[in-house]
């Protein structure tokens, strides 16, 4: 076994690094300098992760489609994002003549800034959280919801029908799934008894027989996680819910009129939203930075957090390579007629779990309720569908 001090140092390496760097400054400056340092770390790290993810996504999608994927720029094509970055920086920045210039300029900034704000409350390791807000989850959702504003700003200010339609779709979709996202997260708050993300992680960082108390390993947690995953996919406008930028009908959706670096910012914002919402999912249901087995607790906590995050990203990419895009009415029906009732039912199940107390009964009852509800709702959905040749009511 590795020596205890070494384990603790590797676990806290970034915290110690920050303290050492801040130690050079006078005591009165230290808190502010610490925050600036943490912000710089977040602002530096996640764009790098974004660059890496874009090339890995393209390579992964290529492999899913039995292609090779980008392999020209640098070793294994890993410098592709650099080439893309240079390209987007040197491109002409076009603003439509009839656009609202101020809003058009602000939209990508608002998107990126609000997305970055979400990282502030996420615990990325033991003692590694920028601001430990008591209502961290609330803050996160407040920030997450304002990305919709940025998207609508982009669509509205462009004065382009495709942009506007894309933005309308995006807002409709994001508001619909925002409800499901919140309700699926509420079960965690009910169980942990706190909105603070550090407390939620601490509640899951316990082990019975070597296995963690992650919320995904309970019936309501699994159902909640699945609903959360569906809602996040829609919330980040990822395939199969990428209707706002449906190329086949809307050119590029709300960023049709963006070019050059502003487009790159939108791209960055989308991926950052994906990272932050994956990180939140890991925090809520997958135990945040806690290790999956008690004998693996010697591995630094931040490694666990980022592996869970990248695993979620991999699933996002996998889903994108598998599923075709939904239709707008299917998307809305799915949100309001399936995901939302299931999350509401999940709240009841979580309450039942709480009041049934320890024992096997709660496992059986909670699982049974969720499975029966799932089967019944799926059957009802299917009955309502009329597959077959399209019939026209008025044109004949």
């Amino acid at each position: 076994m590795i020596a205890r001090p070494l384990i603790e140092t590797s676990d806290q390496v970034f915290v110690l690094l920050k303290e050492w760097l801040v130690g050079f400054l006078p005591a009165s400056w230290q808190p502010a300098a610490g925050v600036v340092l943490c912000v710089a770390a977040i602002v530096g790290l996640f764009p790098v992760l974004f660059a890496l993810t874009t090339v890995l996504e393209r390579k992964g999608l290529g492999r899913i489609q039995n292609r090779i994927g980008p392999n020209r720029v640098g070793p294994l094509g890993l410098l592709q994002p650099l080439a893309d970055g240079i390209k987007s920086l040197t491109k002409e920045d076009i603003v439509p003549a009839s656009a609202d210039r101020v809003v058009h300029f602000l939209a990508p900034l608002v998107l990126v800034v609000t997305v970055f704000m979400g990282f502030a409350v996420e615990p990325m390791g033991r003692n590694m959280v920028l601001v430990d807000v008591d209502a961290g989850l609330l803050f996160y959702f407040a920030m997450g919801t304002s990305t919709e504003l940025a998207i609508f700003m982009a669509g509205w200010s462009s004065r382009n029908k495709y942009s506007l339609l894309g933005a309308m779709r995006a807002v409709a979709q994001m508001i619909s799934y925002e409800v499901a996202l919140l309700l699926s997260s509420v079960v965690v708050v009910m169980m942990a008894g706190s909105l603070s993300l550090t407390k939620i992680v601490a509640a899951q960082n316990q082990y019975t027989w070597g296995l963690p108390h992650w919320y995904i390993f309970t019936p309501w947690g699994l159902a909640g996680f699945l609903m959360y995953a569906i809602a996040t996919t829609a919330e980040t406008n990822r395939s199969p819910f990428d209707l706002p930028e449906g190329e086949s009908e809307l050119v590029a959706g709300y960023h049709t009129e963006y070019s050059g670096f502003k487009f790159a910012l939108f791209f960055l914002g989308e991926y950052l939203a994906m990272f932050s919402i994956s990180g939140l999912g890991a925090t809520l249901f997958l135990g945040g930075w806690s290790a999956p087995f008690s004998f693996l607790t010697w591995v630094p906590s931040w490694i666990w957090f980022f592996s869970k995050l990248m695993l979620s990203i991999f699933v996002f990419i996998w889903l994108r390579g598998t599923l075709p895009r939904l239709r707008q009415d299917q998307l809305m029906n799915f949100a309001w007629k399936f995901v939302l009732p299931m999350t509401l039912l999940n709240l009841l199940v979580a309450a039942l779990w709480r009041f049934l107390g320890e024992g096997w009964e709660r496992w059986v009852f909670c699982t049974a309720i969720l499975v029966v509800a799932y089967v019944v709702m799926a059957r009802m959905e299917m009955r309502r569908e009329h597959f077959g040749p399209r019939s026209y009511r008025y044109a004949e």
């Binding site: 039995n66 292609r67 090779i68 889903l319 598998t322 799932y374 089967v375 799926a378 059957r379």
Partner: protein
């Protein structure tokens, strides 16, 4: 119904993802600049002009008949016919193109020029790496860039080239035979004319002095006919009506300054 279709799809894509790392036959991509596939014989890109022998201009099969220019759907061919003639592969004097240009930015690779060419002079190339920095001049191929030896045609389209060669050899043999026959006929005609003139002269001698001038005329005509016949046999030229053909061609040269073509450039 319960989402098992999604799971099935996810399993399929996962199989593709991991399978592409272990089995090489899944990745069918040919990484082009380094790896290449030999062009297919039926491949066609842009046309080129075939010539026989060593000298591109002497052996050029094209006779500037301008059928391809007229048939070309996007009108990408531009030909200027020569005012003089050179012998073609059977030895018959033919015009040749002074300018032959194909604008490959306009050409749509339809192969209609190849289909309509009665002389097997224009064929489709398989060369496709034609990118250039000059999008006007660089994409306008002139005669020097278009001519390719028959050996090249054999290399890229072995079957088609063999068939064309067989056909051209047959035509040449037939033309030689015909020329020989024509020479024979001309000689016979000359002899007949001479005989006729001689008999006429004999008749004139009996009629008197006035006929003397006529006799000399008749002899001259017979001699001229004989000379042309001999000349034809010696050069191995084709049919006797070649002279009239040539006259027609010359008339065309005079009238071929078509104003619309000049305007197109």
């Amino acid at each position: 119904m319960f989402g098992e279709g999604i799971l099935k799809g996810l399993a399929e894509t996962a199989r593709n993802f991991f399978g592409s790392f272990v089995s090489a036959e899944r990745l069918t991509t040919v990484e082009y600049p380094e790896q290449r596939i030999a062009p297919f014989e039926a491949a066609r890109v842009f046309p080129f002009l075939v010539y026989d022998g060593e000298d591109p201009l002497a052996g050029l099969r094209c006779v500037a008949c301008q059928i391809c220019e007229k048939e070309c759907p996007p009108q990408c061919i531009f030909i200027v016919k020569s005012s003089d003639k050179k012998p073609d592969f059977v030895g018959k004097p033919q015009n040749y193109p002074v300018r032959f240009e194909i604008d490959i930015s306009v050409c749509m690779s339809c192969q209609i020029c190849v289909e309509v060419c009665p002389f097997d002079a224009i064929k489709m190339n398989t060369e496709f790496e034609l990118s250039t920095g000059d999008r006007f001049g660089g994409l306008l191929l002139n005669l020097d860039q278009l001519v390719k030896p028959n050996e090249y045609y054999h290399r890229i389209h072995p079957a088609g080239a063999a068939e064309v060669d067989a056909r051209l050899a047959g035509e040449k043999a037939k033309a030689e035979e015909k020329a020989k026959a024509a020479a024979e006929a001309a000689r016979a005609a000359a002899e007949a004319a001479q005989a006729k003139a001689a008999s006429e002269a004999a008749a004139a001698n009996t009629t008197g002095e006035a006929g003397a001038a006529k006799t000399t005329e008749g002899v001259g005509a017979a001699k001229a006919a004989e000379e042309t016949g001999v000349a034809k046999a010696a050069t191995g030229e084709a049919e006797a009506k070649a002279a009239s053909d040539a006259a027609k061609a010359a008339a065309e040269v005079a009238s071929q300054k078509q104003p619309d073509q000049e305007g197109r450039r």
